[in-house]
Symmetry: C2
Subunit: 517 residues, 2 copies
Amino acid sequence: MLDIYFILLLTVMIKNRDFIMMMMMYKTIMMVNNKAVSGGLEWRVRVADGSSSAVLVPESGIFERIWQGIIGLVFGIIRKVRNFFAKAWDVGVDDPRKIMHCLKVGVALTVVSLFYYMRPLYQGVGGNAMWAVLTVVVIFEYTVGATLCKSLNRATGTFLAGALAVGVHWVASQSGERFEPIILRSSVFILATSATFSRFIPVVKARFDYGAMIFILTFSLVAISGYRVDNLFNLAQERLSTIVIGGSMCLLVSMFICPIWAGQDLHFLVARNMEKMANSLDGCVAEYFKDSESDEESRKNFQGYKCVLNSKATEEALANFARWEPAHGNFSFRHPWKQYLKIGASLRSCAYCIEALNGCINSEILAPEFIKEHLSGVSTRLASHSSTVLKELAHITKTMRRSSTLDFAIEDMKSAVEDLHDALKSLPSQLEVDEKKTDPITQPTSIPLIEVLPLITASSLMVEITTRIERTIVVVNELASLAKFKPVKDKKTKQSKVTNKNRPDQGQDTIKTLQMV
Amino acid sequence: MLDIYFILLLTVMIKNRDFIMMMMMYKTIMMVNNKAVSGGLEWRVRVADGSSSAVLVPESGIFERIWQGIIGLVFGIIRKVRNFFAKAWDVGVDDPRKIMHCLKVGVALTVVSLFYYMRPLYQGVGGNAMWAVLTVVVIFEYTVGATLCKSLNRATGTFLAGALAVGVHWVASQSGERFEPIILRSSVFILATSATFSRFIPVVKARFDYGAMIFILTFSLVAISGYRVDNLFNLAQERLSTIVIGGSMCLLVSMFICPIWAGQDLHFLVARNMEKMANSLDGCVAEYFKDSESDEESRKNFQGYKCVLNSKATEEALANFARWEPAHGNFSFRHPWKQYLKIGASLRSCAYCIEALNGCINSEILAPEFIKEHLSGVSTRLASHSSTVLKELAHITKTMRRSSTLDFAIEDMKSAVEDLHDALKSLPSQLEVDEKKTDPITQPTSIPLIEVLPLITASSLMVEITTRIERTIVVVNELASLAKFKPVKDKKTKQSKVTNKNRPDQGQDTIKTLQMV
C-alpha cells in the first residue's frame, strides 16, 4: 500500500496528472473488485433519466489479468529500483571515502584521456594511448596498497612477457619461414599453460595473480602480433610506456588525493573488532543474567562478535595489500602486518566461544534463583573485567602506545577468574545449607546437577574465553614490541615501576594499592 | 645440512664436477672454521721437505664474508625455488583438474590466435583480433560458472557502454565543435564515477562487478577514440564481435572439454564438510576420553572442522557462480544453490561449538576416574550417533536421494541425548554413594563441582552440538524438498511406512523394532 502512495507522490512530482488519475482508478477498482469477489457485491448503474438500470457483473477477462500483470511488473521494477537506490545511498552515507574514491577514478580517467585530446601528447605515445586509459580503469583500486600491487604486477608482467616475446620472436625469425609459426604458436601454448598453472600455487595466487595474467596476455599479444607488425620492438616499448603513464597517474591520484591505506584500514579494523568483542562479552552476560527483555540497541551491540567471525578474508586481503604500501602515518614500510592476522585469529577463537556461550543464553535457566544470584555477580564481574582488558588492548593497538593500566586490568581479570572458581567450588555445599534452611525437616540433599548445567557451562565458557583473551594479550604484546609501540608517558606508571623495583616480591600488592589510589 | 646434500646430488645429476669439488671444499672449510673459532684450533702445514712449518691463523676477512654471503644467497634461492616447485607439484597432484584447466587455456588461446595467423579470418575481423585474445586470457576462469559470469558481464558491459558511447558521441557531434570535447570529457567523468560507485553496492559487487568495470573501460575507450577514429560505429561493432568470438571460444572449451562446474563443486564441498564434521566430532570425543596419545592420522582427522570454519568465502563464491550455469548432471538450471549456503552456515555453527569443545580437551581432567567412566560411555555414544546423523546427511546430499535410515539415526541421537541427561542427573547422588562405599566412616559429602567442571562443560557442549545438528537436518530437508531429491527405494522402508500408518501412536517403537531387524 505504502508503495502505491510513494509512487503517487513521485508521479505528482513529475506532474503527470493523467497517470495519477489512472492509478487511483485502478486502485479503487482493485479494492472494490476484491469486495465483489468476497461478498458477491454487484454494481448498479442508474442511467440519468432513471428509466433503466443495468447490472455490471465483475469481469476477470484476459485483458484485466494482463493489465494487472503489467501493473504488478511495473510496481515490482519501481520497488526494486527504489531499494537499489536506498542501498546505494546507505553505502555512500556509511563510508563517504567510497564517494571520494569514485571521484578520484573520474579525475584519473579524465587526466589520462588528455593524452588523447592534446595533439602534442598524442603524437608522443601514438595510437596506443588507449592502453593508458585501459590501465587506469583496470588497476585503480580502493586502497593504495591494492593499486600499487596491481600496477607493479602489471608493469612487471608486461615487461617480462614483452622481453620474452621479443626473444622468442627473434629465435623464430632466425629459424626459417617454415618453423616460425610453429615456434610462435607452441611458445604461446606452453607459456600460457605454465603461467596459468602458476596462478594455482598459493604464494603466487596471493601476491602475483594479476601479474601472471598480464604476463600471459602480453606474451600472447606480442607473440601473435609479431607475426604481422614489423616494428615489434616499438609495439612492446609503446605498450610498456603507456602502462607506466597510466599506472603512475593512478598512483599519484591514489596516494596524494585523500589516500585510503590498506594498512591503516587493517589497523583500525582489528582494533574495532576488539571493541566489538568487548561489547559482545558484556552484552552476552548481561543478557543472560538479566530478567527483562533487552532493547534493540544492546542486542545489536552484543551481536558484534559475528563481524569478528566473518572478518578473516577482509583481514587477509588488507594485510596482503598493506605490505606493498610505503611508510604512512605511524606505519613504517616494514610494519609487521602479519602480526595483525595473528591477533585476528586469536580474536576469532574468542568469538567461537562467545558463539557457543550464545547457545547457552537461549536455553532456559532452571537453576534456583539464589544460585543464579550467587553466580551472576562473579560472572558479570568477570565479563566486565575481560571486556576491560579487550578495550584496553584495542586502545593500545589503536594509539600504538603501551598502556599503564593494562597490567592492572589483567590482574583484575585473573582475580575475577579466581573468584568464579571459588564460587563454583563453594556451590554444592552452599546448596545443601540453603536447602536445610528452607526446609529443616528433610535430609541434606544436593540439587540435581542438571538444573544448574547451563549456568555452569556458561561460567566454564567464560573461563575459557579468559584463557583465549590471554593468548590475545600475548600476540598484541608481540605486535607492540615488533612495531616498537611508544612507551607509557604517564607519571604514575613511572612511580609504580620504581616502587616495583624496590619491592620486587610485593609487585602484586603494589598494583592493587595503586589501583585504589 | 640436508639442503647441501640435496644440492650436491642435483649437481651430480647435471655433471658439473668442478662445482661439487668447490662445494665440498667450502663445506669442509666452514666446518673447520667453526671449530677454529670455538676451540682456538690452528692449522699447521708441514712442507714436503720437513724443514719448516707455518701456522695458518683462521682469517675472516672481507672476501670470505662476501663469499659466505654469496653462497648463502645462492643456497637460499635454490631452496626457495625447490620449495616452490614442491608446492606446485603438490597442487597438481592434489587436483589434476587444475592441470586440465591449464591445458584448456592453452588450447583456447591457440585456437583464437588462428584468427591472426589465417589470412581470410584475419581480414574478417581486422586488426581488432587482439581483442579476442585479450578476452580469452581475461575471462577464462576455473569453473564454467565463473567463465559464464565473466563472459556475459563482459558482453553486456561492452554492448551497453558501446551503445551509450555512440549515442553520446552523436549528441556531442551535433552540438558544435566548441562543446564537443566538453560533453565527451564530462560524460566520461560522470559515467566513470557513477559506475565505480555502483561497484560498491553489494548486489552489483556480487554479480556484476566485472561488467561495471568493462562498462567504464569500453565507454572511456569508445568515447575517447570517437574524437579521432572517424568510423566509430565500426570500432564499437568490431570490438563487440571479437569479444563474442573470444567469449564463445572460452565457453565452448570450458563447457565441452572436461568441464568443471561450480555447482557440482559446491555440492560436493558441502557434503564433504559434513563428513569432516562427523570425523571431527568422533575424533574430538575419542581424544578427550582416551588416555593414550593420539596418532598423527586421527589428529589430522579431528582437525577437519577447521576447514568448515574457513569455507564461507569459498561457498559464497561457488554459489554465486553456480547460478549462472546451465543444467548439468543432476542439477537443473534453477537448482536451489542458496540453500547450500544455509547448510554451510548451520554446519559452521556446529563447528564453533566443536572449537569450544576443543578448548575443554586441552584442559586436564581432574575428575575421579569413576565419574569419567560414568560419563565417557554416554558421551562417546552421543558423539558416535551425532556423527552417524551427519554422515547420513552427507550421504543424502551427495547422492541426492532421501535416506531410509536417517530417521533411525536421529532417533538414536535423541535417545543418546536423553541418556546423557540421565547420566548427568544421577551424577551427584552417585558421587555420594560411591564415596560412602570407599570411606564409610565420613559423612556423605559431595565432590566439589570444580573437579567435574570441564567434564560437565564438555557434555553440555555435546548436547548443544546436537541441537545445532538438528537445525542442519532441517535445512538439509528443505534442500531435499526444494531440489526434489529422489525418494527412498528401499523395500524395508515402504514396509515401515505401512506399519507406521497402521499404528500411528507407536511409531517410535516400530522404528526401534525395525532397527533391531
